[in-house]
Symmetry: C2
Subunit: 496 residues, 2 copies
C-alpha cells in the first residue's frame, strides 16, 4: 500500500486533502463499491466521489476552496466504509498557490485568487508513459522553460516516433492479453498523479487529454463503449479532480476518432461537467477540417459545457473572429511544431513558431508550443518529452516577460486593423508585424497624453526605447526586418 | 488627325484591322453617331462597333480569327459613313502571335492557337498615367522580366504614393473644370492603345481594370451613373476589343466602390459580355472581406459571364478549394507585395513573395506579383511602374522556367495532401514545401515505372538531381531549409 498521501489535519486552500480508508478488496471494488463524502464548510456542502486504489485501500480526495474548518462524512454501500467522518482545517494558500485557473471573461483566464493567468502551453503527449529517467528529464526541462501548461494524454500513444509499449496502462491488462475494462490500474495512476503534482510544484497546468485517436485499436482505448467511457471518466475525476492544476481536454483531434460521434462527445462533456465538484476548465481539440476556410468545421465551442476554445489551426489570423464567434477565450494549442519531421505539422522553423506565438497573443488569444526534431532514439519532445533543442522557447520566454510587464487584462484593439494589436485604450498598445517589414509605421496614439515607445525585435529579443515622448499620430521608423513589434506605454501623469 | 494605324490590306490572324473614315465633327459625334461594320468570312459574320476618334475621324477596328479573305460593310446613321465597304486578306499569324488567351478547362488557360498560357502577372495600376519617359522605363523593365500579364487601370489613381495629376483623362475635362461625361478624349486613348500594343509586342497580356475605387470623388470616375458606365464600356470595347492581348477586369477591389451595387457589377459584366465580339477574358477583383475565413465574401465567380477567378487573398491555401467551388481557373492576382511600405499588404519579403508564387502554382492556381518599395520620388512599381528592386522577380523567372519544362496541363494531385503538388499522375510531380523544412520526405511514386528526382531550392535557384532512379515509396533526404521543392519526372520507356 502506498503511503505518499495521508489523511491531513491541515490542508492549504486549493491543496489536496486525502482520506484513506481500509476496506475489502474482495470481488471487484472498482465496480461494486460506491463511495462518496460530503465536505461541509459552514452552510456549504460539496460532494466528492471516492475511488478504489487497490490493496484494499479506498480514497476520497478533496480540494477545499475556503479557509476554515471543513467537516466530512462518508457514505458507502460498504458497511466498513460507510459512516467515517472527521474534519480538517483549511489554512491560507502558500505564496506559489493561486488556486485553479478559471475563466475571467471572453478573453481572459485568471487564477481563483485573482492573479492573471496567460496560458503558455507546450505539448508532450506521452511523456508520463516513458521511463522514469526520461520523465525526470522532462520535468527538469520544463522547470527552466517559459511553459505554464502542458498537453498530455491519459492513454498511451501509438503513433510515428512513439511505438514503444508503456509499462503501465490505466486499465489492468496489456496489449497481449487484452484489458479488463472493469478494473483500473492503481500503479498507472500513482505515476500519473505524482507527475501532475510535480507539474503543480512547477506552476504548470496539466491540460489532461482524456481521449485520443493514436491507438487505432492497438489497445482499444479509442473504442471503448459508452458505458466504459463513463466509468473511466468518473474514476479519473474522483482521482484527479482535487489537483488544482488539472484541465480537462476531452480529446485530442477528436474528429480523427472514427468510433465516436458528436453525441458521444457531448455526453462525455456532460459527464465531466456533472462529476467534477471543482468545475475545472473543459475543452476539446480538433484534428482535420482546418485546411479549407470555406468549409471550416470544428466542435461548437458555444456549447455551455465548453469553458474555452482549444483549437488546432496553422493560422492565427482568425483568433479574434473565433473569440467573437464563441464568446470564450481562444487557445490555439496546436499551430504546427518547431522541428524537421517529414510531416507538414512538424517542421516549422523557430522563427515561425515564435511568430505564431506573437501573432496569436497580439490578437487576444493564446498559443501552444511543441517541438518535433528528429532524434536518434526517437525522443521527440511533442511525444515523449526529454530535452528542448529549438530556438523558439527562449523567444517565447521573452514574449512572456513582455506580457508580464503589460496590463493584466488587454483586449484586441480592433480599430488598429492593419496589424494585430492588443492593449488597453489610452494606456498601452502592443502591435506586431510578423513577416511584414514596414520601413515606418504611423501609430494613432491619443493626443491628450504622452507615451513612451519601444521597438521590439521579437527574434533578437531586444527592446529599443525611442528618444522622447509621443502623442497623437506618431510616425515610427522601423528596422525594415521581419518579426518586429511596437509597444507604447502611457507615461503616468506624475511623470509627464 | 493621327496616322498611326491605317486601313490595312493584309492583316495577320489575330492582328488588328482598322478602317478610318472621314466624317463630320459637328455636334457630339461620340454620342450622336452610330457606326458598325459587318465583317464576313465565308458564311460567318462578325459585327464590330466603330467609334469617334476626334478631328472628324471615325474608326472601326476588327481582329480576324480566321485566315482568308474578309469583306466588310459599314452601316451608320451618318450618310457620309454609311455604306463604306471593302475587303482585306487575313494572313497567317507571325511566330510570336498565338492569339488571345482563352480558358481551356477548369484549371488552364490557353492561347487560341493551342499553346499553353500560364499567367505570371504583375501590377502597375497607373503606369500609363505617368510621363512618357517613365512609361518607356516600365516597358524596358517588363521586357527583361518573367511577367506575361499586367494589371493596369483605365482611370487614373488617387492613392498614397500616387497623387500626381495625369496629363490626360479618358473623358474631356480636368479635375478643376470637371468632365464632359459625353465626350471621350482621343489623346488619352491614343497613349493607352500605344502602350497596350507595346505590351503585345512583349508578349504581355493587358489585364485592363475598367473601374476602381482609388478616386474617392476627386475626378468622379468611381461614381458615374449607370448610363455613363455603359457608354464608357461600349466605347472602350469598340476601341480596344480588337487588341488580342486585352483582358477585361471589371474592377479592382470592387467592394471598396461604395457607390456601386452588386447589380451594377452584374449589369456591367453583361454589357462587356454582349459588346465584345471577341469574348476576351472577364473577371473582377475583390478588396475586403478576406481576413475572416468564417465570413468569406467575394464576387460569385460561378456567374456565367465570369471566365476565371481573380482573387485578392494573402493566403494561397484555398486556391484548390476555390477552383473546385467556382469551376474556373483561379488567379490570386494580389497576395501582398514585396516591399517595405507601412501598409500591411505592401511590405513582404522577396522570400515570401516567391513562396506565394510557388504555393499558388503548386496548388494548381496562378499568382500575381507586385512591388512596393519606398522611393525618393514615390515611383513605386505597383502604381507607377519604373524599375524593379526586389528579389522575387528572378525567382519567379526560375519558377517559370521550371514550369516551361513541365507538362502543359497539370492538375493538383489531391492524393498527396501534406504538401501542395501538381503534376500528371504517373508522369510528373512537382511538390512544394514552402516554410516547411522536413529533414526527409517520402514520395509515393508509382511502382511500375522509374523516375528521375530533383531537389529544387526555389530561393537559391538550384536544381540537384539525385543519383539513380526511383520507383514506389521513395525516401528523399532534404536540405532541412525552407523553400524547397521536389520534382519527379518519369523516365521514358526507351531510357529505362
Amino acid at each position: 500500500m502506498r503511503e505518499a498521501i495521508q489523511n491531513f489535519k491541515e490542508v492549504e486552500r486549493w491543496g489536496l486533502f486525502e482520506l484513506s480508508l481500509s476496506g475489502s478488496g474482495e470481488g471487484n471494488p472498482f465496480l461494486d463499491i460506491q463511495l462518496e463524502a460530503k465536505f461541509q464548510h459552514k452552510h456549504r456542502i460539496v460532494k466528492a466521489e471516492g475511488f478504489y486504489d487497490g490493496n484494499g485501500v479506498f480514497k476520497i480526495r478533496f480540494m477545499p476552496d475556503t479557509e476554515g474548518t471543513w467537516t466530512y462524512s462518508v457514505s458507502s454501500n460498504s458497511a466498513e466504509l460507510d459512516g467515517a467522518a472527521g474534519s480538517f482545517s483549511c489554512i491560507p494558500a502558500s505564496s506559489e498557490n493561486h488556486g485553479p485557473v478559471r475563466i475571467r471573461d471572453v478573453s481572459h483566464f485568471v487564477y481563483e485568487d485573482g492573479k492573471a493567468y496567460r496560458p503558455f502551453g507546450t505539448t508532450c503527449y506521452a511523456w508520463t508513459h516513458q521511463d522514469e529517467e526520461l520523465q525526470q528529464q522532462t520535468l527538469q526541462t520544463l522547470s527552466v522553460s517559459p511553459f505554464n501548461k502542458i498537453r498530455m494524454c491519459v492513454f498511451p500513444k501509438n503513433y510515428s516516433f512513439n511505438l514503444n509499449e508503456p509499462d503501465f496502462f490505466p486499465f489492468v491488462g496489456s496489449s497481449v492479453e487484452g484489458f479488463d475494462w472493469t478494473r483500473f490500474n492503481p500503479d498507472y495512476f500513482a505515476n500519473l498523479e505524482q507527475k501532475i503534482m510535480e507539474l503543480q510544484k512547477l506552476g504548470i497546468e496539466a491540460d489532461l487529454i482524456l481521449f485520443h485517436p493514436y491507438d487505432k485499436g492497438r489497445w482499444g482505448f479509442d473504442r471503448m463503449d459508452a458505458k466504459t467511457d463513463a466509468y473511466y471518466l468518473r474514476y479519473i475525476i474522483a482521482r484527479l479532480g482535487a489537483f488544482r492544476n488539472i484541465w480537462w481536454s476531452l480529446a485530442n483531434e477528436f474528429d480523427f476518432m472514427t468510433e465516436k460521434t458528436m453525441d458521444d462527445w457531448d455526453r462525455s462533456f456532460r459527464i465531466v461537467q456533472e462529476s467534477d465538484p471543482y468545475q475545472h476548465l473543459r475543452s476539446i481539440h480538433n484534428g482535420t477540417k482546418m485546411y479549407d476556410p470555406t468549409t471550416l468545421i470544428v466542435y461548437d465551442h458555444t456549447k455551455p459545457w465548453v469553458t474555452h476554445v482549444s483549437m488546432q489551426y496553422w493560422e492565427l489570423t482568425p483568433t479574434n473572429a473565433w473569440r467573437k464567434l464563441y464568446g470564450k477565450p481562444v487557445v490555439v494549442d496546436e499551430c504546427c511544431y518547431e522541428g524537421n519531421l517529414p510531416q507538414r505539422w512538424g517542421n516549422i522553423t523557430g522563427e515561425d513558431m515564435t511568430a505564431r506565438f506573437w501573432d496569436g497573443f497580439t490578437r487576444g488569444g493564446y498559443v501552444g508550443h511543441g517541438e518535433t526534431f528528429l532524434h536518434a532514439e526517437e525522443v521527440v519532445w511533442w511525444s515523449k518529452g526529454g530535452q528542448l533543442y529549438g530556438e523558439s522557447p527562449a523567444r517565447i520566454a521573452f514574449l512572456q516577460q513582455i506580457l508580464n510587464e503589460a496590463p493584466a487584462c488587454m483586449e484586441s484593439i480592433d480599430r488598429l486593423r492593419d496589424a494585430p494589436t492588443i492593449g488597453v485604450e489610452g494606456e498601452y498598445y502592443l502591435q506586431y508585424f510578423g513577416i511584414h517589414r514596414p520601413a515606418y509605421r504611423e501609430l494613432p496614439l491619443p493626443s491628450d497624453r504622452s507615451f513612451k515607445i519601444d521597438v521590439i525585435d521579437t527574434w533578437r529579443m531586444t527592446v529599443t526605447t525611442l528618444e522622447g515622448t509621443f502623442s497623437g499620430m506618431t510616425r515610427i521608423d522601423m528596422p525594415g526586418t521581419p518579426y518586429i513589434a511596437i509597444r507604447a506605454c502611457v507615461i503616468e501623469k506624475g511623470e509627464v
